[in-house]
């Protein structure tokens, strides 16, 4: 069984209130030197069968139509080693 990871992040031009809240808290906690924080979602999918091109294409479609709303989000599909 293989693991495929789908990362979903808000598009760069879209406001990310969660990332902002984290970033603004960091200096108060004594962590300096972080100029930007974006927070997104990570999906770990356990895939039955081989993760071939066809399977990846399906997962990409799934990410595009379901896991992400591409109006506001970008996504990235990776096979975990």
């Amino acid at each position: 069984m293989a693991r495929v990871v789908v990362d979903v992040m808000l598009k760069p031009e879209i406001l990310d209130p969660q990332g902002q809240a984290v970033q603004r808290a960091l200096p108060r906690l004594g962590f300096a030197g972080i100029s930007d924080v974006r927070q997104g979602k990570r999906f770990e999918l356990e895939v039955e069968g081989p993760v071939d091109d066809a399977a990846l294409a399906r997962i990409r479609e799934m990410a595009e139509t379901f896991l992400a709303n591409t109006v506001i989000e970008d996504f990235d599909v990776k096979v975990e080693s």
Partner: protein
Amino acid sequence: MTARIGVVTFPGTLDDRDTQRAISIAGAEAVPLWHRDNDLKQVDAVVLPGGFSYGDYLRAGAISRFSPVMGTVIEQAHAGMPVLGICNGFQVLCEAHLLPGAMLRNTGLHFVCRDQKLRVETADTAWTSDYVPGQEISIPLKNIDGRYTADERTLDELEAEGRVAFRYSDVNPNGSLRDIAGITNAAGNVVGLMPHPEHAVEPLVGTGRTDGLAFFTSVIKKLVNA
């Protein structure tokens, strides 16, 4: 003597004014406390009210826990001051490790607002002495991150030491382990619970019941008799 009970406002706190009203109705003086001040203005007890402090971004309570006011609250709690965390306040207490465990998204994944039945499990805390163990009360519940979680060992310990303060009794609305709605620390001065007693203190508004008033009368008696 009139007891002075502090109510902390974090950015994003919602039920602070409601909690102040509940404290006044119960007969104590409500003292607003500000998250940026580490001065507790000589209050005798502190309530961390509900809401979405810092938007509940990252995790509920995770950012507030580092506020200046929490530094003093943690110190005073260790010294025995009564501290009550309601909903978001409970989440802050867990994040601050004043209470064990953590809160997760409700299993139904939705915000749940309902009139919730609870069973009082212990009257041996600063905030529950006016209840009787086994008593059924009904107070509003409203949250999306209310699933209480801890590892088995911690849960067993809580049970063994009688530190489960409240359990959900009609339905478990959020998947909390062992139906836990509220817990106390070992000393009984720090209590956290998800439902909102401050919204059950007047017959006219909320659910029309006053089952939550005893939280405040409990602590007031303790403080006045101290």
